[in-house]
Structure formats: structure tokens, C-alpha cells
């Protein structure tokens, strides 16, 4: 029996796409629940992306101390994740999660 999955859209911008095969948009299908049987949330997604989607070995350019590294904004359906419950937000099918690295040039 295959465990149920959930399909979402992810996007990496501001230079983060370089860590993800230089491709901005990825449709991903990940387990609907984490190892503890809890519904997949953002924490689980970040971990899953690191293990399954990110081919680049520079993991610390994306994740530091279990969360996204400082300078990366996480957007859940076009809103700052802090408006949606941050890491604890439970993924819904069709969600669009965008990871944006801040730019500093001018």
C-alpha cells in the first residue's frame, strides 16, 4: 500500500533556484503525513525538499538549524508565512510555497 501524497507547487527565487537545479518552479508530490503521522507542514516540507529535491550539496545555503536560513522569506499562497502560522502551517493540496532569498544589490 502506498501512503497518500499531497501535490503542491514550489518556487525558488532570488538566487535560490541555483540550489535547485537552476529551475525556479517545481511541482512536488510529498507524503501527506510526516514520520509521526502528523499532517505535512512547512517544517516537513523544508526537510523533504532538502532530502529529495535539492541536488546541490550546499544545504546550509537553504537550511540552518532546522529552519530556512536567515535572509530567506517563505511565502504561503502569496503571503508571508508569519501570517499563516510559520513552520506549523499544514499543507493543502494545490498550495503554492515560494522561497525567496533577499537581494542586497543596488
Amino acid at each position: 500500500m502506498t501512503s497518500p501524497t499531497i501535490e503542491i507547487k514550489t518556487e525558488f527565487t532570488g538566487g535560490l533556484e541555483l540550489l535547485f537545479s537552476n529551475q525556479r518552479k517545481h511541482k512536488v508530490s510529498l507524503p501527506a503525513t510526516d514520520l509521526n503521522g502528523q499532517p505535512a507542514n512547512i517544517t516537513f516540507l523544508i526537510q523533504w525538499l532538502c532530502e529529495h529535491l535539492m541536488k546541490d550539496p550546499r544545504k546550509d545555503m537553504f537550511v540552518l538549524e532546522g529552519s530556512v536560513r536567515p535572509g530567506i522569506l517563505v511565502l504561503i499562497n502569496d503571503a508571508d508565512w508569519e501570517l499563516e502560522g510559520e513552520e506549523k502551517y499544514e499543507l493543502q493540496a494545490g498550495d503554492e510555497i515560494v522561497f525567496v532569498s533577499t537581494l542586497h544589490g543596488g
Binding site: 536567515p70 535572509g71 542586497h104 543596488g106
Partner: protein, 505 residues
Amino acid sequence: MDSFQTADNKVHNLRRQVEATENQLRELKSQLQQAEQQAEESRNAHSAYLGGFPAEWIDETLQVLRQNEFPNTAQTIRQDHGFQQSPSAANVTKRRWPLDKDEYIRYGRQLIMPEIGLHGQLRLKNSKVLVVGCGGLGCPAAAYLAGAGVGTLGLIDGDTVEVSNLHRQIIHSTTKVGMTKVDSAYEYLAALNPSITYNRYPFHLSPDKALEIFEQYDLILDCTDHPTSRYLISDAAVLTGRPLVSASALKTEGQLIVLNNPPKPPGDLSGGPCYRCVFPTPPPADSVVSCGEGGIVGPVVGLMGVLQALEAIKVLTAKVQPIDQDPPKPTLLMFSAYNTPQFRSVRLRSRRKECAACSSQASITRQALTNGSLDYVAFCGAALPINVLPPQARVAAADFARLPQDGSNKLIDVRDETQYAICALRGSINVPWTGNADSWITRATQSGALAQDGRHYYIVCRLGNDSQLAAQAIMDRALLPILVKDIKGGFKAWREEVDPSWPDY
């Protein structure tokens, strides 16, 4: 006889009296009509005044009323609204219209926009805007603000104009190379609009000067290029209660946020978020890429600067919001030139309850800023210059050039493909640095670059940083029993020591 004459006289007198009284009555009727007309016009003028007649127009109104010889009405308006002094003729002539004659012509095209109007133009004229950074963002931003008639523009930058700036920093020019950016910008802007005041600050913004300078302005534009200055500018904007329009750009992308808007005092959660609310922790120093390193497409940064000017104009000319209307929602505008759609606007969080700068428990104070106890460089960290190889594993570009060209050496160029295609040494092998030793070794091995054929290996890059990491990667794995060296200073040194014609990109 006498009585007859007396009666005639009486008739005559009465007729004259009737005639005189009739004349008087006509005169009175005429006066009444005039008075009624005056009263009506006075009422109209008065209600027009109460109906939102701008204070700037009072002299204009009084002048019109004087010309029509209704001194009492003028006096009434003056007394009703606390204008005690009669306007002097000279004063009235000078302020006949709220804007100067030339200003109606210069700003006419934006003046007729309902979003700006006379009200907005007067607000722009009375506004003072500080542009921090006169580079790719600051150039177009300052140009549009000067063009729009912002009364005072402050310009801060410690750099001088370089040729490599000119593809995007469009208010500088070839003849101004070597001049301070502030002076160069001033020359362009003063020619564009000589009627406004320019303040020049030809130095980098420092914490000890920030508050004193910010206090002289109504709104701040962050047009700088490093997290260090971005945190400093945001903190100073919060401490001085100034809204901040912040933008950034790199490669083909740009970002724009209006911060601290409305600029409520620290602790007031109804104020707009500051830079620290959105980014409480600075990014690791080695993840910060500058335009010099990463590249920038000119119109991308230009667009972001233009958008900053636009947002500044919107903030400065904003009409008073009805009380029942929500304050502006903080948003981040992201632009990506090669993506579809190019623009994306996302909702941002509001003020952070525990923000170090704008919350009630803020640790960043005016004192901390002025006494130098806040070290922004230490806070953001600095990417250290790379120096990982022992001296014997490095070779000067000039020495490399003297090596025998007999095929006993192999040169690996670790710049990316785009740079390699711009210029490369004949016979070199291109294996772009991947940012990571393991993955680079894998790539180099796959490409056959590390084949053990007894030749000596030399590694080169643009500036001599990545080449050290690549050389170290090979040495650490002891993959090759043979000599591996990096060329000190990369192609920059090559140009300076060996080949002056080498492209200086």
C-alpha cells in the same frame, strides 16, 4: 394776494420734497440692490472658504474681494478665520497663486492627475527626501523625484563614478568618471530641475551621523547595496519616525518594500513593519552577493529605482485616510525579468512584537546609535578574504606566464561558462566552481579534467578566490601525486602583470 402766493409756495415746496424723497428712495433702492448683491457674493465666498478652501489661497481670495471693492467681506473672512492682518499689496502680488508661474508649466502634466493635483504638488514642494546611495537605484530614483518637484533632495554616497557603473547608473556619465557620485548626481539633477534644493553628503552613512541627517528629511530611500547599510538605515528611520522606501536588485531580479509606514513610534503595533521585523537576522555573509560579483542587468535595477520614486511620491502626496479605512497593508513587490509573470506582490507581516528596533522592548536606541555601541559590520558579519593555501601552492600570474609552454602544464579555469566564453586562455579547461568541494571534484572528474597524465595542474578564476578552493579540494583528496597550484589574484592579476589587453569586465 398774499394768501394766494403762500399757497403756491407751499405746493412748490411739497413738489420739491416729493421729488427729493423719490430721488432718495431710488437711491435707497439702488443701494439696497447693491447691498443684497454684496451679501450674496459674500455668502458664496464664505461658504466656498468653509468648503475646503485651502489656507494657501486666502491671499488670493482676499485679493479678488478687494478688486471687487467688498472690503467688509474680506474683513469678515479675515476675522472669522483668525487672519488679523490685512494682506499687504506686495505680499498679495507675490503669492497671487500658490505655485510659481513656471511651476504650473513644469509640473502641469502630473498636476492634472487627480492623484496629485495642486494639493499633492504643494506637498511635494514642501517635502524633503533623502536618497541614501547614488548608484543603480539612487540614480533613477533621485532623477524622478527631482523631476517631480520634491522641494529638497539629500544625496548620500561615499563612492566615485567608475566606468563599470555607467550601464545602469544613468545620471552619471563618461566625463564624470572619478568624480564623487554625489557631485556627479548633483550636476545632473541641478540641470534637470534647478528650482529645488540639493544637499550633498559625499560620504558613506555611519551610525553616528544617521539620526542627525535623517531628522532633516520627511522620507528616506534606501538605495544602498549591503545588509550592513540596510539595517542601519531601517533603525535610523524607526528612531527618527520616517517612512522608508527600500529596494534592491541583483542579476535579473528586484525587490521593493515600503517600511515603517505609517511611521508610528516604537511599541505602537499599528505602525508599519521595519526591516528587522521582516528580516530579524542578517543572512550569512557568504550568501550576500554584490552586483560586481553576481552581475546586474541595467534596466532591472533602474526599474526598481523608478518604483522607489513612485512609492515615495505616493507616500508624500497621500490624501488623509478616512478613520474607518485600514492603514496601508505592508507588501513586498518582487520583480523577475525572465519569469512569468514578471511581477508578484505578496502580503508581509505587520510589526514584530519583539522587534529589536520598533517594538516596546526595542534594544536599539538613539544613544546606542550615536555612541557607536552598535557595530553593524559585526552584526552582519563580513566574508573573509579567502587564503586557504600554503604559499608553495600558489603562483604569481607573472611566474605562471614564464612556465615552459611544452604541454607539461594543465590550466583549469573555474569561472562559470558565461565568463569563460568572454575570454579564456587557449588550452585551458573550463570546470566551473560549484560552491562545494565534493560536487566540484565529481564534475571535474567526469569531465576528464583530473585525468592523471603526469602534467602539473594550475587553477585560475576571476579574482583568485574560487581557484584556491578548487586547488585545495584536489590536494585534500590527494587525487594527484603531482603539483597543484592556484594563480594568485586570478585573471585580474594576469591582466595587471602579464597581459594588459585582457578584458577587464
